[in-house]
């Protein structure tokens, strides 16, 4: 079952994009879009640029498509920063007011990194991604940016569902049977989340008469439903398994894009609507350790990184639960940095997948010899996710742990500290070690194509730029920052924590031997248990049907037999009588009537 999945997919991926020399349509399309949106710039929703652009993709030449893929995210980024800080466009819809362009510091921060990712993901997929995937990517990224500018719950919901469609299509576009199955399971989870969210929004509207996107408590049912709807997209328990189930089935460029938007828009929504909700601290901590444990058990390199998404989002969810200004800054900054380094890690893994066609750690190893550039970018991403000094993780994750310490949450702080060590263990060292080092697998693949390398350079550069000049990121955080990440003490304690975690990795290397296994998760219930129940139900229904059918057939047969007995050739009612007996009967009747008359 596994075997035929990869090679055909790679064949499709490697199909060269047809080149044509029409430059005119690019210019026209871009100018029209630019002019149209810039003329209305106070009112134009930045997310719509890519959503409308996505509609053009199937109809343009390959050249124009490349221009749109790279140009639209840049145009969006410009628009994101042109929206005035106090902008709020209000439209009447039925009895409610909608605010499709509502500027907030948090929204602008997330929209900025989303636009950067749409550009980097587009660059990475140039010449690799099929038009269907490109279209879906633009729709997906545009809708994510739409969410960040939503000033009301209904607008948020509409973009939220568009994202589900876009992301499902990206997974589907990989074209393998496994990807089709995974995309359907993914869609089902997100439709479920969407229904719960919509129920919450409607309930909230009925209860309060308002759709405004403002902080809610968790003291009413509609608010709880909204919280659940958000958490489904964040990969919170019990529905975490959709991330490692679905994302790694996408193409290399597909998974890079997928890692950035869905979970992080959920972080954005939680940040705006549920800051300081205490339950989120514990949900976040669960996610943090869930991600580590499952990633430690995993063998597929991109599934390791998918579990690591849950782990990282757990840090953010926990910080949102703490809810102080420092913590919320930390969640936002960590999301920003995480999107970039996780995409970088996945680009590195995607390059390996594209060039070797292999995805399991048991098949890989020693690749640093022939893919030094890819390995280096993978290591930069790994150092950043582990929060090594001079990388973006160091200056962002520490905001969250400090917030826990400032609030006197000792247990939370100790757990976050252990988890920080665990991040180095499960992603920071496990991923590069098993893919690029460990034993020599004998594979000597070449480096991935130039566009892929360019995208990796871009994101590596950003990881280090933010790590070296944290002020650039701190300046656009929602609240003023007084925190200083680079103190001698902080650098020393962080290095101790991480390097000894690494030491533990090598000491326990024998315990971490990769096996050809997957780990059961709660998705077992809907993939196996419910499936088995469904099969059993189908069996029962089929046998009941067969029994009923048998009875009906028997009854019909009896009816037919009875009819045949009376009306058939031998039936009493159909018997032919000899003429003689007729004459006899006539004679008898005549005699009888004579007798009657005589009397």
């Amino acid at each position: 079952m596994l075997k035929p999945a990869l090679p055909p997919m790679l064949g499709v991926l490697a199909r060269p994009v047809r080149e044509t020399a029409h430059r005119k349509p690019i210019a026209t399309a871009l100018t029209l879009l630019a002019l149209g949106s810039l003329l209305l710039w106070r009112l134009f929703p930045p997310g719509l640029v890519m959503i409308l652009g996505a509609a053009l993709i199937p109809f343009v030449t390959a050249e124009t498509r490349r221009a749109l893929v790279l140009g639209l995210p840049i145009l969006t980024l410009v628009l994101v920063w042109l929206v005035p800080a106090d902008a709020s466009l209000s439209i009447g819809f039925l009895d409610a007011r909608l605010a499709p362009v509502h500027a907030t510091a948090e929204g602008r921060l997330f929209a900025t990194v989303f636009a950067i990712m749409a550009f980097a993901g587009g660059l990475y997929g140039l010449g690799q991604a099929r038009p269907l995937e490109v279209t879906a990517t633009l729709l997906y990224a545009g809708s994510a940016i739409g969410v960040t500018f939503a000033g009301d719950l209904l607008t948020l919901f509409i973009y939220w569902e568009l994202m589900a469609l876009g992301s499902t299509t990206i997974i589907f576009a990989a074209g393998t049977a496994r990807a089709r199955g995974a995309s359907l399971r993914y869609l089902l989870v997100h439709l479920l989340g969407g229904v719960v969210l919509m129920a919450g929004i409607v309930g909230h509207l009925v209860e309060t008469g308002s759709l405004a996107l403002t902080p809610l408590g968790t003291d009413s049912w509609p608010a709880i439903l909204i919280l659940i709807g958000f958490l489904v997209n964040a990969g919170a328990p019990p529905l975490s398994a959709w991330i490692p189930d679905a994302y790694p089935e996408a193409t290399p460029s597909g998974m890079v894009v997928l890692s950035a938007f869905t979970t992080k828009t959920a972080v954005f929504a939680l940040l705006m609507v549920f800051p300081g909700t205490e339950i989120l601290i514990w949900i976040g901590l669960y996610m943090v350790f869930y991600g580590i444990i499952y990633a430690l058990l995993e063998n597929d390199m991109r599934r390791i990184l998918a579990y690591s998404i849950v782990n990282q989002v757990g840090f953010m969810v926990c910080a949102i639960g703490i809810g102080t200004e420092l913590a919320l800054n930390g969640a936002a900054a960590h999301a920003f940095a995480h999107i970039i380094y996780k995409a970088l890690l996945l680009m590195s893994a995607g390059g390996v997948l594209l060039m070797t066609g292999k995805r399991k750690c048991t098949d890989l190893g020693g690749l640093f010899q022939s893919m030094p550039i890819t390995a280096m970018h993978g290591i930069v991403g790994a150092l950043a996710i582990s929060a090594f000094p001079l990388t973006s993780g160091f200056v962002t994750k520490s905001l969250e742990t400090s917030a826990a310490a400032d609030e006197g949450l000792l247990i939370v702080w100790l757990l976050l500290l252990a988890a920080s060590a665990g991040v180095f263990l499960h992603a920071g060292i496990k991923f590069p070690w098993f893919v690029f080092f460990q034993r020599d697998s004998g594979l000597r693949p070449a480096e991935p194509p130039q566009t892929m390398r360019a995208a990796m350079w871009l994101l590596s550069g950003l990881c280090i730029l933010i790590g070296v000049f944290p002020g650039l990121l701190y300046a656009i955080l929602p609240y003023p920052v007084t925190y200083r990440p680079y103190t001698f003490e902080h650098v020393m304690t962080q290095l101790q924590l991480l390097l000894f975690a690494g030491f533990a990795f090598f000491v326990m290397l024998d315990q971490m031997k990769r096996t050809l296994t997957i780990s059961l998760d709660l998705d077992w219930f809907y993939r196996r248990s419910f499936h088995a129940l469904g099969l059993r139900l189908a069996d029962r229904v089929a046998s009941a049907h067969a029994r009923l059918e048998g009875r009906a057939r028997a009854a019909t047969a009896r009816l037919i037999d009875a009819l045949a007995a009376h009306n058939g050739p031998q039936g009493a009612l159909a018997r032919t009588r000899p003429t003689g007996s007729m004459v006899l009967w006539v004679a008898i009747m005549l005699g009888a009537s004579l007798l009657l008359y005589i009397r």
Binding site: M492, Q496, F503, T517
Partner: protein, 86 residues
Amino acid sequence: MAEQIHWLYRKENRPKLWAIQITILALTLLPGLFIQVHHHFPAERFSLDTSPGFFAWFGFISCAWMVALAKFLGRFIKRDDTYYDA
């Protein structure tokens, strides 16, 4: 032409690699003896975090614990990777 084995994979270099690692670990521990880490929890009467090397052993032990936990859970939840394909 047989490719030469990369020096990282040569058996004779193993001890050197371990030695380098242990030297680096020792170097990160060293400054802790001379500088005082600030109290993260002054109000909670928790002062373990100010002792030298706290972050080092805490990192090591929590990782060892997580590997052990994963190994233990793996006994129950690991399946062949073709489990869902059947």
